[in-house]
């Protein structure tokens, strides 16, 4: 579904990704593990069209999206749940969700979009009572759910998630991950997950990649990565 070949991304003259290649198949949950500053977010931002300087190729289904604009990429079916949620705090939950449909929003299909919100609320029942509440007043967990819900409003085929567990209580993280599994099973959604909480992320994934200073150094099925002592030591926190 997504095929990345020898991708390079730069911040000014600093090369943050060095010949990164990976692929994600339809219906998979794939995790990217790496330390702070290893290039995880840069990779997601590159896929989402947020990095101005990239080389190499990113192919999504049959389209090369390497130099497309973010909005064009969203229209093709890729949505990003950004690091730190990036909600519009002074706006309420409903408005934040509607913003998720921005590339498709027309006066005519407005009604459809509101129907979609109702379906999304089924996945995140906690948000139902908060419809009119300002996003900034939500708890961390609710904000994360809203951020995911907003991404789902564009009906993506591929969901990119940047550290959804950061700053959340373990219980809430677990419920968010349960929702992801549910999404994958029910709708066949493909998910590319970037996480520091490697153990949790690998658990719900089929495959994973390990990134170190802008280079992929290892990949494999979930079990292979969990077998790798280096991964265990560096990212799973036990030996």
């Amino acid at each position: 579904m997504l095929t990345i070949r020898s991708l390079r991304s730069y911040y000014e003259s600093i090369c943050a990704l060095k010949a990164v290649s990976l692929h994600i198949q339809k219906g998979e949950i794939v995790t990217l593990i790496g330390a702070n500053g290893s290039g995880k977010s840069t990779l997601l931002n590159s896929i989402a069209g947020l990095m101005p300087k990239t080389k190499g190729t990113i192919q999504f289904e049959d389209t090369e999206i390497t130099n497309l604009s973010s909005s064009a990429i969203v229209k093709l079916g890729i949505a990003l749940v950004p690091e730190g949620r990036q909600l519009f705090f002074p706006m309420n939950v409903m408005d934040n969700l509607i913003l998720g449909t921005y590339p498709f929003y027309t006066f005519r299909n407005k009604k459809n979009l509101y129907n979609k919100i109702d379906r999304i609320f089924d996945l995140f029942p906690a948000l139902v009572d908060r419809k009119k509440q300002l996003a900034g007043t939500l708890s961390g967990g609710e904000q994360q759910m809203l951020s995911i819900a907003r991404a789902l409003m564009s009906e993506p085929k591929l969901l990119l998630m940047d550290e959804p567990s950061v700053g959340l209580a373990p219980k809430i993280v677990e419920s968010i991950f349960q929702t992801l599994i549910l999404l994958q099973k029910q709708t066949g959604l493909t998910i590319f997950l970037v996480e520091q909480n490697a153990k949790l992320a690998l658990n719900i994934s089929q495959r994973g990649y390990v990134i170190e200073t802008g280079q992929i150094i290892l990949s494999g099925e979930k079990e292979e990565l969990m077998n790798n002592k280096e991964v265990i030591r560096a990212y799973l926190g036990k030996e």
């Binding site: 095929t3 070949r5 020898s6 390079r8 090369c15 060095k18 010949a19 990164v20 290649s21 990976l22 692929h23 190499g56 170190e212 280079q215 992929i216 150094i217 290892l218 990949s219 494999g220 292979e224 077998n227 790798n228 002592k229 280096e230």
Partner: protein, 432 residues
């Protein structure tokens, strides 16, 4: 058409090449970080692993030779600390320094998967009783196939090096349906069967998996007819992983290389230039999943060629031709590796001066035979029959002791051995 791993063995070529590129880049990043030899090499030639953007870029990296591995003995080529290594295997060390190859937990898993592919393609299923007649121990043959056969779920008999008679009795009584061994071992088994008056009809055998040494089609035909079994070939080498690098499917016309784990190339052994499809040259392999002992562009010393035409078995993995020759002068006699230099040494010690000799290899029935022809110059033998006989015996004894093979010795008149340009004084009549 039995395919063990549908996903990888029948993967579309473009997807497979993506997997190869990803794994190659990861391997290069790892060896550059962890293996001092590769780090020094890359620095010396100012090569940055990041510049590998396509599979074709692999050409930018120099070859790794067996000598490099010898210099790194014992652990310098390892890419992980020893505490991550769960197994060691070793090459035979025919020419001196044996090599130690380490495996991590994942390497063992992959190896198991690879030998399972070999066995499954050869027709082995969970309903089979398979007798592994490769030596268990440092040699990779026994234990490598053992794990793969268990993974398939076959009933495994670790026959190892049990004596022939015993092996046949086990085969008959346990109702063995498949066996894995070196082809000459199979030939010997058949001879012992004949001696003991055991007929193939008394056995339940239906398939044989031969590897570890060259063998040809007429041998296949012979064994298949005599034992009424189906025989497939497989190839591997300890440095790369052991058995499981490539294997025949039931079309028996070339060995599929497990390209999701190894990238094959064929090169001109003299110039080092990469050759095209169908061209015969030295097989060069790059491991792309090995964790403990990754090798980049390793020169195997084996001569073959690569075929890219799709196989009707459904596998998309390319095929290599059966291997009959090596680029060095290593000779394999009944599964034993040996070099002319070793004979030279033995003869020098026996005669006292550097000998003029040649090795004539032939096949009698199914077994390899070797005749050592040595020129005896007049100045130190005085037509004494007794001394000549003694010399013959000494040579046979030494060869038997050091190389585990009983040769024939023929002492010849001076200047009867033709001097060729080639260094190797080997005449191999087996595959002609």
């Amino acid at each position: 058409m039995p395919v063990w791993n549908e996903k990888y063995e029948t993967m579309k070529r473009d997807e497979l090449e993506q997997v190869q590129l990803e794994r190659l880049q990861q391997t290069l990043n790892r060896v550059y970080r962890r293996v001092s030899y590769y780090q020094n090499l890359f620095n010396k030639i100012s090569f940055d692993p990041d510049t590998i953007s396509t599979l074709g870029d692999l050409k930018k990296i120099p070859y790794t030779s067996k000598d490099t591995l010898r210099l790194a003995y014992p652990y310098d080529m390892f890419a992980v600390p020893l505490r991550e290594v769960v197994r060691m295997q070793s090459t035979s060390g025919t020419t001196g320094q044996p090599l130690i190859v380490g495996y991590t937990k994942n390497d063992i898993e992959h190896w198991t998967e690879l030998t399972a592919r070999v066995l499954y393609a050869g027709g082995v299923t969970k309903d089979d009783i398979i007798q592994i007649c490769f030596p268990y121990g440092l040699f990779t043959g026994g234990i490598g196939f053992h794990y793969g056969a268990e993974k398939i779920g076959a009933s495994v008999i670790p026959g190892s090096e049990a004596d022939m008679e015993n092996q046949i009795i086990i085969m008959r009584d346990y109702r063995t349906t498949a066996f894995a061994c070196a082809p000459t071992y199979a030939a010997q088994l058949f001879e012992v069967m004949n001696e003991k008056g055991i007929t193939p009809a008394e056995l339940s055998l239906s398939k044989g998996l031969f590897g570890a040494e060259p063998w040809n089609e007429s041998f296949r035909k012979e064994i298949e007819e005599k034992l009424s079994i189906s025989v497939t070939d497989n190839y591997g080498l300890t440095e790369i992983i052991g058995p499981g690098v490539s294997f025949e499917c039931d079309h028996k016309n070339g060995l599929h290389i497990s390209e999701d784990h190894f990238i094959p190339e064929i090169i001109d052994p003299d110039t080092g230039s990469v050759l095209g499809p169908g061209e015969k040259g030295e097989l060069v392999l790059t491991t792309i999943t090995k964790e403990a002992y990754p090798l980049i562009r390793y020169r195997t010393g084996d001569l073959t060629c690569l075929y890219y035409e799709p196989c009707t078995c459904g596998r998309t993995l390319i095929k290599m031709g059966k291997i009959f020759e090596r680029i060095d002068d290593m000779i394999i006699l009944n599964g034993q590796n040996m070099f002319p230099s070793q004979f030279e040494q033995i003869l020098t010690e026996a005669i006292g001066t550097a000998p003029k000799f040649q090795l004539v290899i032939d096949k009698k029935e199914t077994l390899d035979e070797l005749e050592i022809q040595v020129e005896i110059s007049g100045d130190f033998f005085f037509d004494e029959m007794k001394k000549l006989a003694e010399l013959e015996i000494t040579i046979i004894k030494e060869v038997k002791e050091r190389l585990d093979f009983i040769p024939k010795v023929k002492l010849v008149e001076p200047r009867t051995i033709k001097r060729g340009m080639k260094k190797a004084k080997v005449i191999d009549k087996r595959y002609k």
